[in-house]
Symmetry: C3
Subunit: 213 residues, 3 copies
Protein backbone atom coordinates (compact mmCIF):
# COMPACT_ATOMS: atom_id res chain seq x y z
CA UNK A 1 0.00 0.00 0.00
CA UNK A 2 1.53 3.25 -1.08
CA UNK A 3 1.96 6.00 1.51
CA UNK A 4 0.64 8.42 -1.12
CA UNK A 5 -2.89 7.09 -0.56
CA UNK A 6 -3.34 9.44 2.37
CA UNK A 7 -3.01 12.44 0.07
CA UNK A 8 -5.51 11.06 -2.41
CA UNK A 9 -8.25 13.75 -2.50
CA UNK A 10 -5.80 16.35 -3.82
CA UNK A 11 -4.98 17.49 -7.33
CA UNK A 12 -8.10 16.75 -9.32
CA UNK A 13 -6.35 18.37 -12.29
CA UNK A 14 -4.90 15.04 -13.39
CA UNK A 15 -8.32 13.37 -13.60
CA UNK A 16 -9.62 16.19 -15.80
CA UNK A 17 -6.58 16.04 -18.08
CA UNK A 18 -6.73 12.25 -18.47
CA UNK A 19 -10.48 12.43 -19.16
CA UNK A 20 -9.94 15.08 -21.86
CA UNK A 21 -7.19 12.98 -23.45
CA UNK A 22 -9.25 9.78 -23.48
CA UNK A 23 -12.38 11.55 -24.78
CA UNK A 24 -10.14 12.91 -27.54
CA UNK A 25 -9.00 9.35 -28.31
CA UNK A 26 -12.62 8.28 -28.75
CA UNK A 27 -13.06 10.96 -31.43
CA UNK A 28 -9.81 9.91 -33.10
CA UNK A 29 -10.81 6.23 -33.15
CA UNK A 30 -14.27 7.06 -34.54
CA UNK A 31 -12.64 9.06 -37.35
CA UNK A 32 -10.25 6.19 -38.07
CA UNK A 33 -13.28 3.97 -38.71
CA UNK A 34 -14.70 6.71 -40.98
CA UNK A 35 -11.43 6.92 -42.93
CA UNK A 36 -11.07 3.19 -43.57
CA UNK A 37 -14.69 3.00 -44.81
CA UNK A 38 -14.37 6.02 -47.10
CA UNK A 39 -13.57 5.16 -50.73
CA UNK A 40 -12.95 8.74 -51.88
CA UNK A 41 -9.34 9.95 -51.55
CA UNK A 42 -10.27 13.61 -51.04
CA UNK A 43 -12.94 12.88 -48.43
CA UNK A 44 -10.38 10.74 -46.61
CA UNK A 45 -7.95 13.67 -46.75
CA UNK A 46 -10.54 15.91 -45.06
CA UNK A 47 -11.02 13.44 -42.20
CA UNK A 48 -7.26 12.95 -41.83
CA UNK A 49 -6.89 16.74 -41.49
CA UNK A 50 -9.45 16.71 -38.64
CA UNK A 51 -7.54 13.87 -37.03
CA UNK A 52 -4.33 15.90 -37.24
CA UNK A 53 -6.00 18.64 -35.17
CA UNK A 54 -7.19 16.10 -32.61
CA UNK A 55 -3.73 14.61 -32.41
CA UNK A 56 -2.21 18.08 -31.79
CA UNK A 57 -4.79 18.63 -29.03
CA UNK A 58 -3.71 15.34 -27.49
CA UNK A 59 -0.06 16.40 -27.66
CA UNK A 60 -0.91 19.57 -25.73
CA UNK A 61 -2.82 17.61 -23.08
CA UNK A 62 0.11 15.23 -22.61
CA UNK A 63 2.48 18.17 -22.34
CA UNK A 64 0.23 19.78 -19.71
CA UNK A 65 0.14 16.51 -17.71
CA UNK A 66 3.96 16.42 -17.65
CA UNK A 67 4.16 20.11 -16.65
CA UNK A 68 1.63 19.52 -13.82
CA UNK A 69 3.57 16.45 -12.75
CA UNK A 70 6.66 18.63 -12.48
CA UNK A 71 4.85 21.26 -10.42
CA UNK A 72 3.00 18.95 -8.01
CA UNK A 73 4.85 17.07 -5.31
CA UNK A 74 1.61 15.40 -4.24
CA UNK A 75 -0.25 13.51 -6.96
CA UNK A 76 -3.48 11.47 -6.83
CA UNK A 77 -1.56 8.31 -7.65
CA UNK A 78 2.09 7.34 -8.09
CA UNK A 79 4.11 9.68 -10.31
CA UNK A 80 5.43 6.82 -12.44
CA UNK A 81 1.85 5.64 -13.10
CA UNK A 82 0.77 9.14 -14.18
CA UNK A 83 3.78 9.26 -16.48
CA UNK A 84 3.11 5.81 -17.94
CA UNK A 85 -0.61 6.44 -18.45
CA UNK A 86 -0.01 9.81 -20.15
CA UNK A 87 2.61 8.22 -22.40
CA UNK A 88 0.31 5.31 -23.32
CA UNK A 89 -2.62 7.62 -24.19
CA UNK A 90 -0.30 9.81 -26.25
CA UNK A 91 1.05 6.75 -28.09
CA UNK A 92 -2.52 5.59 -28.89
CA UNK A 93 -3.24 8.99 -30.48
CA UNK A 94 0.05 8.96 -32.41
CA UNK A 95 -0.46 5.51 -33.91
CA UNK A 96 -4.14 6.10 -34.79
CA UNK A 97 -3.27 9.33 -36.59
CA UNK A 98 -0.16 7.86 -38.24
CA UNK A 99 -2.20 4.98 -39.67
CA UNK A 100 -4.87 7.25 -41.12
CA UNK A 101 -2.25 9.59 -42.59
CA UNK A 102 -0.30 6.74 -44.19
CA UNK A 103 -3.35 5.38 -46.02
CA UNK A 104 -3.52 8.45 -48.24
CA UNK A 105 0.20 9.10 -48.20
CA UNK A 106 0.82 5.59 -49.58
CA UNK A 107 -2.32 5.72 -51.74
CA UNK A 108 -3.55 2.50 -50.14
CA UNK A 109 -7.27 1.89 -50.74
CA UNK A 110 -8.63 0.72 -47.35
CA UNK A 111 -12.25 -0.09 -48.31
CA UNK A 112 -11.21 -3.28 -50.12
CA UNK A 113 -9.00 -4.53 -47.26
CA UNK A 114 -11.07 -6.42 -44.67
CA UNK A 115 -8.08 -6.66 -42.30
CA UNK A 116 -7.73 -2.87 -42.09
CA UNK A 117 -11.49 -2.38 -41.58
CA UNK A 118 -11.71 -5.06 -38.87
CA UNK A 119 -8.68 -3.74 -37.03
CA UNK A 120 -10.08 -0.18 -37.10
CA UNK A 121 -13.40 -1.44 -35.69
CA UNK A 122 -11.56 -3.30 -32.93
CA UNK A 123 -9.50 -0.20 -32.13
CA UNK A 124 -12.70 1.84 -31.72
CA UNK A 125 -14.00 -0.77 -29.23
CA UNK A 126 -10.71 -0.88 -27.35
CA UNK A 127 -10.52 2.92 -27.04
CA UNK A 128 -14.11 2.98 -25.69
CA UNK A 129 -12.96 0.65 -22.90
CA UNK A 130 -9.86 2.77 -22.26
CA UNK A 131 -12.09 5.83 -21.90
CA UNK A 132 -14.51 3.97 -19.61
CA UNK A 133 -11.62 2.91 -17.36
CA UNK A 134 -10.19 6.46 -17.25
CA UNK A 135 -13.59 7.76 -16.08
CA UNK A 136 -13.49 5.25 -13.19
CA UNK A 137 -10.14 6.53 -11.89
CA UNK A 138 -11.74 9.53 -10.22
CA UNK A 139 -13.78 7.21 -8.03
CA UNK A 140 -11.51 4.35 -7.08
CA UNK A 141 -14.31 2.38 -5.41
CA UNK A 142 -15.28 0.59 -8.61
CA UNK A 143 -12.19 -1.53 -9.01
CA UNK A 144 -14.27 -4.23 -10.75
CA UNK A 145 -15.34 -1.85 -13.52
CA UNK A 146 -11.72 -0.98 -14.31
CA UNK A 147 -10.74 -4.66 -14.27
CA UNK A 148 -13.67 -5.44 -16.62
CA UNK A 149 -12.42 -2.78 -19.05
CA UNK A 150 -8.87 -4.15 -18.88
CA UNK A 151 -10.09 -7.69 -19.64
CA UNK A 152 -12.02 -6.30 -22.62
CA UNK A 153 -8.96 -4.37 -23.87
CA UNK A 154 -6.71 -7.44 -23.56
CA UNK A 155 -9.26 -9.59 -25.36
CA UNK A 156 -9.39 -7.11 -28.24
CA UNK A 157 -5.61 -7.02 -28.39
CA UNK A 158 -5.56 -10.79 -28.87
CA UNK A 159 -8.24 -10.59 -31.58
CA UNK A 160 -6.28 -7.90 -33.41
CA UNK A 161 -3.13 -10.03 -33.20
CA UNK A 162 -5.03 -12.77 -35.03
CA UNK A 163 -6.43 -10.38 -37.67
CA UNK A 164 -2.92 -8.98 -38.09
CA UNK A 165 -1.41 -12.45 -38.58
CA UNK A 166 -4.07 -13.39 -41.14
CA UNK A 167 -3.58 -10.09 -42.98
CA UNK A 168 0.19 -10.50 -43.13
CA UNK A 169 -0.15 -14.13 -44.24
CA UNK A 170 -2.59 -13.13 -46.98
CA UNK A 171 -0.32 -10.28 -48.05
CA UNK A 172 2.75 -12.47 -48.48
CA UNK A 173 0.73 -15.16 -50.28
CA UNK A 174 -1.27 -13.02 -52.68
CA UNK A 175 0.25 -9.56 -53.11
CA UNK A 176 2.55 -9.48 -56.14
CA UNK A 177 3.28 -5.73 -55.98
CA UNK A 178 6.16 -5.68 -53.49
CA UNK A 179 5.95 -1.92 -52.94
CA UNK A 180 2.29 -2.26 -51.99
CA UNK A 181 3.20 -5.22 -49.75
CA UNK A 182 5.74 -3.06 -47.88
CA UNK A 183 3.23 -0.21 -47.52
CA UNK A 184 0.36 -2.40 -46.30
CA UNK A 185 2.62 -4.28 -43.90
CA UNK A 186 3.55 -0.92 -42.33
CA UNK A 187 -0.14 0.05 -42.04
CA UNK A 188 -1.04 -3.30 -40.44
CA UNK A 189 1.87 -2.91 -38.00
CA UNK A 190 0.63 0.56 -37.03
CA UNK A 191 -2.91 -0.66 -36.44
CA UNK A 192 -1.66 -3.54 -34.32
CA UNK A 193 0.49 -1.11 -32.29
CA UNK A 194 -2.63 0.87 -31.33
CA UNK A 195 -4.14 -2.09 -29.49
CA UNK A 196 -0.76 -2.80 -27.83
CA UNK A 197 -0.75 0.75 -26.50
CA UNK A 198 -4.38 0.39 -25.34
CA UNK A 199 -3.20 -2.68 -23.43
CA UNK A 200 -0.37 -0.64 -21.89
CA UNK A 201 -2.90 2.00 -20.78
CA UNK A 202 -5.14 -0.72 -19.35
CA UNK A 203 -2.28 -2.35 -17.44
CA UNK A 204 -1.29 0.96 -15.82
CA UNK A 205 -4.88 1.62 -14.79
CA UNK A 206 -5.23 -1.87 -13.36
CA UNK A 207 -2.05 -1.40 -11.33
CA UNK A 208 -3.39 1.98 -10.08
CA UNK A 209 -6.69 0.55 -8.85
CA UNK A 210 -4.99 -2.51 -7.33
CA UNK A 211 -2.77 -0.19 -5.28
CA UNK A 212 -5.55 2.03 -3.96
CA UNK A 213 -8.30 -0.57 -3.58
CA UNK B 1 23.96 4.82 -1.48
CA UNK B 2 20.21 4.43 -1.46
CA UNK B 3 18.36 4.85 1.83
CA UNK B 4 16.38 1.73 0.91
CA UNK B 5 19.40 -0.42 1.77
CA UNK B 6 18.40 -0.47 5.41
CA UNK B 7 15.18 -2.26 4.55
CA UNK B 8 16.96 -4.85 2.45
CA UNK B 9 16.04 -8.12 4.18
CA UNK B 10 12.34 -7.59 3.47
CA UNK B 11 10.09 -8.84 0.70
CA UNK B 12 11.75 -12.00 -0.53
CA UNK B 13 8.77 -12.39 -2.89
CA UNK B 14 10.55 -10.40 -5.60
CA UNK B 15 13.58 -12.73 -5.62
CA UNK B 16 11.34 -15.76 -6.04
CA UNK B 17 9.37 -14.14 -8.85
CA UNK B 18 12.49 -13.03 -10.74
CA UNK B 19 14.04 -16.49 -10.31
CA UNK B 20 10.89 -18.15 -11.70
CA UNK B 21 10.88 -15.76 -14.66
CA UNK B 22 14.54 -16.30 -15.51
CA UNK B 23 14.29 -20.10 -15.10
CA UNK B 24 11.36 -19.90 -17.52
CA UNK B 25 13.57 -17.95 -19.95
CA UNK B 26 16.14 -20.74 -19.86
CA UNK B 27 13.46 -23.24 -20.98
CA UNK B 28 12.30 -20.85 -23.70
CA UNK B 29 15.84 -20.32 -25.02
CA UNK B 30 16.52 -24.08 -25.01
CA UNK B 31 13.36 -24.65 -27.04
CA UNK B 32 14.37 -21.89 -29.47
CA UNK B 33 17.56 -23.86 -30.18
CA UNK B 34 15.43 -26.99 -30.67
CA UNK B 35 13.14 -25.18 -33.11
CA UNK B 36 15.89 -23.78 -35.32
CA UNK B 37 17.54 -27.23 -35.55
CA UNK B 38 14.30 -29.05 -36.38
CA UNK B 39 13.71 -29.58 -40.10
CA UNK B 40 10.14 -30.87 -39.76
CA UNK B 41 7.41 -28.19 -39.91
CA UNK B 42 4.96 -30.10 -37.69
CA UNK B 43 7.54 -30.96 -35.05
CA UNK B 44 8.52 -27.27 -35.00
CA UNK B 45 4.82 -26.41 -34.52
CA UNK B 46 4.69 -28.67 -31.46
CA UNK B 47 7.69 -26.97 -29.86
CA UNK B 48 6.31 -23.50 -30.71
CA UNK B 49 3.07 -24.47 -28.92
CA UNK B 50 5.08 -25.39 -25.80
CA UNK B 51 6.90 -22.06 -26.07
CA UNK B 52 3.56 -20.24 -26.22
CA UNK B 53 2.64 -21.77 -22.86
CA UNK B 54 5.99 -20.75 -21.36
CA UNK B 55 5.53 -17.23 -22.69
CA UNK B 56 2.07 -17.01 -21.10
CA UNK B 57 3.58 -18.20 -17.80
CA UNK B 58 6.16 -15.44 -18.10
CA UNK B 59 3.42 -12.87 -18.74
CA UNK B 60 1.71 -13.95 -15.54
CA UNK B 61 4.95 -13.69 -13.53
CA UNK B 62 5.60 -10.17 -14.87
CA UNK B 63 2.04 -9.19 -14.00
CA UNK B 64 2.48 -10.55 -10.47
CA UNK B 65 5.74 -8.59 -10.05
CA UNK B 66 3.93 -5.36 -11.02
CA UNK B 67 1.02 -6.13 -8.66
CA UNK B 68 3.48 -6.83 -5.80
CA UNK B 69 5.34 -3.64 -6.63
CA UNK B 70 2.05 -1.77 -6.26
CA UNK B 71 1.29 -3.38 -2.92
CA UNK B 72 4.73 -3.05 -1.31
CA UNK B 73 6.05 0.32 -0.20
CA UNK B 74 9.33 -1.30 0.87
CA UNK B 75 11.13 -3.29 -1.82
CA UNK B 76 14.47 -5.16 -1.73
CA UNK B 77 15.92 -2.73 -4.28
CA UNK B 78 14.79 0.47 -5.99
CA UNK B 79 11.28 0.34 -7.45
CA UNK B 80 12.48 1.60 -10.84
CA UNK B 81 15.07 -1.22 -10.99
CA UNK B 82 12.43 -3.86 -10.20
CA UNK B 83 10.24 -2.37 -12.92
CA UNK B 84 13.09 -2.26 -15.46
CA UNK B 85 14.29 -5.79 -14.71
CA UNK B 86 10.77 -7.26 -14.92
CA UNK B 87 10.21 -5.43 -18.22
CA UNK B 88 13.54 -6.65 -19.66
CA UNK B 89 12.87 -10.30 -18.70
CA UNK B 90 9.38 -10.05 -20.19
CA UNK B 91 10.79 -8.57 -23.40
CA UNK B 92 13.32 -11.41 -23.68
CA UNK B 93 10.45 -13.95 -23.47
CA UNK B 94 8.35 -12.01 -26.00
CA UNK B 95 11.10 -11.79 -28.62
CA UNK B 96 12.22 -15.42 -28.20
CA UNK B 97 8.66 -16.67 -28.65
CA UNK B 98 7.91 -14.22 -31.49
CA UNK B 99 10.96 -15.44 -33.41
CA UNK B 100 10.04 -19.11 -33.06
CA UNK B 101 6.43 -18.43 -34.03
CA UNK B 102 7.43 -16.42 -37.11
CA UNK B 103 9.62 -19.21 -38.50
CA UNK B 104 6.59 -21.44 -39.11
CA UNK B 105 4.21 -18.57 -39.76
CA UNK B 106 6.46 -17.33 -42.58
CA UNK B 107 7.39 -20.88 -43.62
CA UNK B 108 11.08 -20.04 -43.25
CA UNK B 109 13.28 -23.13 -43.08
CA UNK B 110 15.77 -22.41 -40.25
CA UNK B 111 18.02 -25.48 -40.52
CA UNK B 112 19.69 -24.22 -43.68
CA UNK B 113 20.35 -20.73 -42.27
CA UNK B 114 23.60 -20.66 -40.28
CA UNK B 115 22.89 -17.09 -39.05
CA UNK B 116 19.63 -18.13 -37.39
CA UNK B 117 21.22 -21.21 -35.79
CA UNK B 118 24.24 -19.28 -34.49
CA UNK B 119 22.09 -16.47 -33.09
CA UNK B 120 19.81 -18.99 -31.32
CA UNK B 121 22.87 -20.70 -29.76
CA UNK B 122 24.19 -17.32 -28.61
CA UNK B 123 20.79 -16.43 -27.13
CA UNK B 124 20.79 -19.66 -25.12
CA UNK B 125 24.23 -18.74 -23.71
CA UNK B 126 23.16 -15.18 -22.94
CA UNK B 127 19.99 -16.30 -21.15
CA UNK B 128 22.06 -18.73 -19.03
CA UNK B 129 24.12 -15.76 -17.85
CA UNK B 130 20.98 -13.70 -17.20
CA UNK B 131 19.63 -16.52 -15.04
CA UNK B 132 22.95 -16.89 -13.20
CA UNK B 133 22.97 -13.16 -12.41
CA UNK B 134 19.34 -13.24 -11.20
CA UNK B 135 20.25 -16.04 -8.78
CA UNK B 136 23.01 -13.84 -7.32
CA UNK B 137 20.60 -10.98 -6.51
CA UNK B 138 19.34 -12.73 -3.38
CA UNK B 139 22.81 -12.63 -1.92
CA UNK B 140 24.32 -9.29 -2.88
CA UNK B 141 27.77 -10.20 -1.52
CA UNK B 142 28.91 -11.68 -4.82
CA UNK B 143 29.05 -8.48 -6.83
CA UNK B 144 31.87 -9.96 -8.93
CA UNK B 145 29.75 -12.88 -10.10
CA UNK B 146 27.02 -10.53 -11.33
CA UNK B 147 29.59 -8.35 -13.09
CA UNK B 148 31.10 -11.46 -14.73
CA UNK B 149 27.67 -12.43 -16.05
CA UNK B 150 27.07 -8.91 -17.37
CA UNK B 151 30.42 -8.92 -19.20
CA UNK B 152 29.48 -12.29 -20.74
CA UNK B 153 26.05 -10.98 -21.80
CA UNK B 154 27.56 -7.86 -23.37
CA UNK B 155 30.16 -9.93 -25.20
CA UNK B 156 27.44 -12.16 -26.65
CA UNK B 157 25.44 -9.10 -27.70
CA UNK B 158 28.44 -7.88 -29.69
CA UNK B 159 28.92 -11.30 -31.30
CA UNK B 160 25.25 -11.44 -32.28
CA UNK B 161 25.50 -7.95 -33.78
CA UNK B 162 28.27 -9.28 -36.03
CA UNK B 163 26.32 -12.42 -36.98
CA UNK B 164 23.30 -10.20 -37.66
CA UNK B 165 25.32 -7.87 -39.92
CA UNK B 166 26.76 -10.80 -41.87
CA UNK B 167 23.34 -12.40 -42.23
CA UNK B 168 21.75 -9.18 -43.49
CA UNK B 169 24.66 -8.59 -45.88
CA UNK B 170 24.35 -12.12 -47.24
CA UNK B 171 20.57 -11.74 -47.56
CA UNK B 172 20.79 -8.56 -49.64
CA UNK B 173 23.55 -9.99 -51.80
CA UNK B 174 22.17 -13.45 -52.50
CA UNK B 175 18.45 -13.66 -51.82
CA UNK B 176 16.47 -13.06 -55.02
CA UNK B 177 13.04 -13.79 -53.50
CA UNK B 178 12.18 -10.37 -52.05
CA UNK B 179 9.31 -11.70 -49.94
CA UNK B 180 11.66 -14.21 -48.32
CA UNK B 181 14.21 -11.43 -47.84
CA UNK B 182 11.62 -9.34 -45.96
CA UNK B 183 10.60 -12.33 -43.81
CA UNK B 184 14.16 -13.37 -42.93
CA UNK B 185 15.17 -9.78 -42.20
CA UNK B 186 12.33 -9.60 -39.66
CA UNK B 187 13.43 -12.90 -38.06
CA UNK B 188 17.06 -11.73 -37.83
CA UNK B 189 15.89 -8.44 -36.27
CA UNK B 190 13.88 -10.35 -33.67
CA UNK B 191 16.82 -12.59 -32.76
CA UNK B 192 19.10 -9.60 -32.44
CA UNK B 193 16.52 -7.87 -30.21
CA UNK B 194 16.68 -10.79 -27.75
CA UNK B 195 20.34 -10.17 -26.99
CA UNK B 196 19.67 -6.41 -26.70
CA UNK B 197 17.05 -7.16 -24.06
CA UNK B 198 19.45 -9.55 -22.27
CA UNK B 199 21.91 -6.64 -22.18
CA UNK B 200 19.18 -4.40 -20.71
CA UNK B 201 18.52 -7.01 -18.00
CA UNK B 202 22.26 -7.27 -17.32
CA UNK B 203 22.66 -3.50 -17.06
CA UNK B 204 19.84 -3.23 -14.51
CA UNK B 205 21.34 -6.02 -12.42
CA UNK B 206 24.76 -4.41 -12.55
CA UNK B 207 23.30 -1.10 -11.39
CA UNK B 208 21.47 -2.92 -8.55
CA UNK B 209 24.62 -4.62 -7.24
CA UNK B 210 26.68 -1.43 -7.61
CA UNK B 211 24.16 0.43 -5.41
CA UNK B 212 24.05 -2.16 -2.64
CA UNK B 213 27.67 -3.29 -2.68
CA UNK C 1 7.57 22.28 -6.90
CA UNK C 2 9.80 19.37 -6.03
CA UNK C 3 11.17 19.13 -2.53
CA UNK C 4 14.55 18.26 -4.07
CA UNK C 5 15.03 21.90 -5.04
CA UNK C 6 16.48 22.64 -1.62
CA UNK C 7 19.37 20.29 -2.29
CA UNK C 8 20.13 21.83 -5.65
CA UNK C 9 23.75 23.02 -5.30
CA UNK C 10 24.97 19.45 -4.72
CA UNK C 11 26.38 16.89 -7.10
CA UNK C 12 27.86 18.90 -9.91
CA UNK C 13 29.08 15.60 -11.37
CA UNK C 14 25.86 15.19 -13.38
CA UNK C 15 26.27 18.56 -15.12
CA UNK C 16 29.80 17.65 -16.18
CA UNK C 17 28.75 14.24 -17.46
CA UNK C 18 25.79 15.61 -19.45
CA UNK C 19 28.00 18.36 -20.92
CA UNK C 20 30.59 15.79 -22.02
CA UNK C 21 27.89 13.64 -23.60
CA UNK C 22 26.28 16.52 -25.49
CA UNK C 23 29.65 17.90 -26.67
CA UNK C 24 30.35 14.39 -27.94
CA UNK C 25 27.03 14.45 -29.81
CA UNK C 26 28.09 17.67 -31.56
CA UNK C 27 31.20 15.91 -32.88
CA UNK C 28 29.14 12.91 -33.97
CA UNK C 29 26.60 15.09 -35.81
CA UNK C 30 29.38 17.07 -37.54
CA UNK C 31 30.92 13.80 -38.73
CA UNK C 32 27.53 12.57 -39.96
CA UNK C 33 27.39 15.65 -42.22
CA UNK C 34 30.94 14.85 -43.38
CA UNK C 35 29.97 11.25 -44.18
CA UNK C 36 26.89 12.08 -46.24
CA UNK C 37 28.85 14.62 -48.30
CA UNK C 38 31.78 12.28 -48.95
CA UNK C 39 31.58 10.42 -52.26
CA UNK C 40 34.53 8.09 -51.59
CA UNK C 41 33.64 4.78 -49.91
CA UNK C 42 36.99 4.39 -48.14
CA UNK C 43 37.07 7.97 -46.85
CA UNK C 44 33.54 7.42 -45.54
CA UNK C 45 34.78 4.25 -43.81
CA UNK C 46 37.51 6.26 -42.05
CA UNK C 47 34.97 8.78 -40.71
CA UNK C 48 32.59 6.00 -39.64
CA UNK C 49 35.44 4.42 -37.65
CA UNK C 50 35.99 7.75 -35.83
CA UNK C 51 32.27 7.90 -35.15
CA UNK C 52 32.38 4.40 -33.66
CA UNK C 53 34.96 5.63 -31.14
CA UNK C 54 32.79 8.65 -30.26
CA UNK C 55 29.77 6.41 -29.85
CA UNK C 56 31.73 4.13 -27.47
CA UNK C 57 32.77 7.20 -25.48
CA UNK C 58 29.12 8.18 -25.24
CA UNK C 59 28.20 4.68 -24.03
CA UNK C 60 30.75 5.02 -21.24
CA UNK C 61 29.41 8.45 -20.23
CA UNK C 62 25.85 7.09 -20.09
CA UNK C 63 27.03 4.16 -18.01
CA UNK C 64 28.82 6.53 -15.61
CA UNK C 65 25.66 8.65 -15.26
CA UNK C 66 23.65 5.55 -14.29
CA UNK C 67 26.33 4.43 -11.82
CA UNK C 68 26.40 7.92 -10.24
CA UNK C 69 22.61 7.91 -10.11
CA UNK C 70 22.79 4.64 -8.18
CA UNK C 71 25.34 6.03 -5.73
CA UNK C 72 23.74 9.44 -5.06
CA UNK C 73 20.57 9.73 -3.05
CA UNK C 74 20.56 13.50 -3.61
CA UNK C 75 20.63 14.62 -7.25
CA UNK C 76 20.52 18.11 -8.80
CA UNK C 77 17.15 17.34 -10.41
CA UNK C 78 14.64 14.50 -10.27
CA UNK C 79 16.14 11.03 -10.70
CA UNK C 80 13.65 10.11 -13.43
CA UNK C 81 14.65 13.23 -15.40
CA UNK C 82 18.35 12.36 -15.14
CA UNK C 83 17.54 8.86 -16.33
CA UNK C 84 15.39 10.11 -19.24
CA UNK C 85 17.91 12.73 -20.35
CA UNK C 86 20.83 10.27 -20.26
CA UNK C 87 18.78 7.74 -22.23
CA UNK C 88 17.76 10.34 -24.84
CA UNK C 89 21.36 11.55 -25.35
CA UNK C 90 22.52 7.94 -25.66
CA UNK C 91 19.79 7.19 -28.20
CA UNK C 92 20.82 10.24 -30.28
CA UNK C 93 24.40 8.91 -30.41
CA UNK C 94 23.22 5.39 -31.27
CA UNK C 95 21.00 6.47 -34.17
CA UNK C 96 23.56 8.92 -35.62
CA UNK C 97 26.25 6.25 -35.60
CA UNK C 98 23.90 3.53 -36.87
CA UNK C 99 22.90 5.70 -39.84
CA UNK C 100 26.49 6.45 -40.82
CA UNK C 101 27.49 2.79 -40.45
CA UNK C 102 24.56 1.58 -42.56
CA UNK C 103 25.43 3.85 -45.51
CA UNK C 104 28.63 1.90 -46.18
CA UNK C 105 27.28 -1.40 -44.93
CA UNK C 106 24.43 -1.19 -47.47
CA UNK C 107 26.65 0.47 -50.09
CA UNK C 108 24.21 3.35 -50.36
CA UNK C 109 25.71 6.41 -52.07
CA UNK C 110 24.58 9.39 -49.96
CA UNK C 111 25.93 12.28 -52.04
CA UNK C 112 23.25 11.85 -54.69
CA UNK C 113 20.38 11.70 -52.18
CA UNK C 114 19.19 15.19 -51.24
CA UNK C 115 16.90 13.80 -48.51
CA UNK C 116 19.80 12.20 -46.66
CA UNK C 117 21.95 15.33 -46.95
CA UNK C 118 19.16 17.66 -45.78
CA UNK C 119 18.27 15.42 -42.83
CA UNK C 120 21.93 15.22 -41.77
CA UNK C 121 22.19 19.04 -41.90
CA UNK C 122 19.01 19.36 -39.82
CA UNK C 123 20.37 16.84 -37.28
CA UNK C 124 23.54 18.91 -36.88
CA UNK C 125 21.39 21.99 -36.15
CA UNK C 126 19.19 20.10 -33.72
CA UNK C 127 22.14 18.66 -31.80
CA UNK C 128 23.66 22.16 -31.51
CA UNK C 129 20.45 23.25 -29.76
CA UNK C 130 20.48 20.16 -27.54
CA UNK C 131 24.04 21.02 -26.49
CA UNK C 132 23.13 24.67 -25.88
CA UNK C 133 20.23 23.62 -23.64
CA UNK C 134 22.41 21.16 -21.70
CA UNK C 135 24.88 23.98 -20.99
CA UNK C 136 22.03 26.06 -19.51
CA UNK C 137 21.07 23.34 -16.99
CA UNK C 138 23.93 24.24 -14.67
CA UNK C 139 22.48 27.72 -14.23
CA UNK C 140 18.74 27.32 -14.06
CA UNK C 141 18.07 31.07 -14.14
CA UNK C 142 17.91 31.18 -17.91
CA UNK C 143 14.70 29.26 -18.39
CA UNK C 144 13.98 31.26 -21.57
CA UNK C 145 17.17 30.09 -23.25
CA UNK C 146 16.29 26.44 -22.66
CA UNK C 147 12.75 27.02 -23.93
CA UNK C 148 14.18 28.74 -27.05
CA UNK C 149 16.37 25.70 -27.73
CA UNK C 150 13.42 23.34 -27.26
CA UNK C 151 11.29 25.35 -29.72
CA UNK C 152 14.17 25.17 -32.21
CA UNK C 153 14.54 21.40 -31.71
CA UNK C 154 10.80 20.82 -32.18
CA UNK C 155 10.76 22.97 -35.31
CA UNK C 156 13.62 20.94 -36.80
CA UNK C 157 11.82 17.71 -35.92
CA UNK C 158 8.80 18.89 -37.93
CA UNK C 159 11.01 19.88 -40.88
CA UNK C 160 12.72 16.49 -40.86
CA UNK C 161 9.31 14.76 -40.76
CA UNK C 162 8.47 16.60 -44.00
CA UNK C 163 11.81 15.75 -45.64
CA UNK C 164 11.31 12.15 -44.52
CA UNK C 165 7.81 12.00 -46.04
CA UNK C 166 9.04 13.46 -49.34
CA UNK C 167 11.98 11.07 -49.43
CA UNK C 168 9.79 8.03 -48.78
CA UNK C 169 7.25 9.21 -51.36
CA UNK C 170 9.99 9.69 -53.94
CA UNK C 171 11.48 6.30 -53.09
CA UNK C 172 8.23 4.40 -53.62
CA UNK C 173 7.48 6.32 -56.82
CA UNK C 174 10.86 6.17 -58.53
CA UNK C 175 13.08 3.45 -57.07
CA UNK C 176 12.77 0.26 -59.09
CA UNK C 177 15.48 -1.67 -57.20
CA UNK C 178 13.42 -3.04 -54.27
CA UNK C 179 16.50 -4.04 -52.27
CA UNK C 180 17.80 -0.48 -52.50
CA UNK C 181 14.34 0.80 -51.57
CA UNK C 182 14.38 -1.33 -48.39
CA UNK C 183 17.91 -0.15 -47.52
CA UNK C 184 17.20 3.55 -48.10
CA UNK C 185 13.91 3.37 -46.21
CA UNK C 186 15.82 2.02 -43.21
CA UNK C 187 18.39 4.82 -43.46
CA UNK C 188 15.67 7.49 -43.71
CA UNK C 189 13.91 5.97 -40.68
CA UNK C 190 17.16 6.10 -38.70
CA UNK C 191 17.77 9.75 -39.59
CA UNK C 192 14.22 10.66 -38.64
CA UNK C 193 14.63 8.83 -35.31
CA UNK C 194 17.60 11.06 -34.42
CA UNK C 195 15.44 14.19 -34.46
CA UNK C 196 12.74 12.37 -32.45
CA UNK C 197 15.32 11.59 -29.80
CA UNK C 198 16.55 15.22 -29.85
CA UNK C 199 12.93 16.19 -29.19
CA UNK C 200 12.81 13.73 -26.27
CA UNK C 201 15.97 15.30 -24.83
CA UNK C 202 14.47 18.78 -25.30
CA UNK C 203 11.22 17.80 -23.60
CA UNK C 204 13.04 16.45 -20.54
CA UNK C 205 15.14 19.61 -20.26
CA UNK C 206 12.04 21.79 -20.59
CA UNK C 207 10.34 19.84 -17.81
CA UNK C 208 13.46 20.20 -15.64
CA UNK C 209 13.64 23.99 -16.00
CA UNK C 210 9.86 24.35 -15.53
CA UNK C 211 10.14 22.52 -12.20
CA UNK C 212 13.02 24.55 -10.84
CA UNK C 213 12.16 27.94 -12.30
Amino acid sequence: MSILKFFLPKDKVFYTLFESASANLESLAAKLVDVVNESDYNKRATIVKQMEDLEHENDKLTHTIFVELGKNFITPFDREDIHSLATALDDIADYIYATAKKLNFYKVEPTSDQGIIKMADAIKESVLSVNRAVLELRNLKNINKVVECVIKINGIENQVDDIFDLSIENLFENETDIKLLIKKREIYQNLEKVTDKCEDAGNVMESIVVKYA
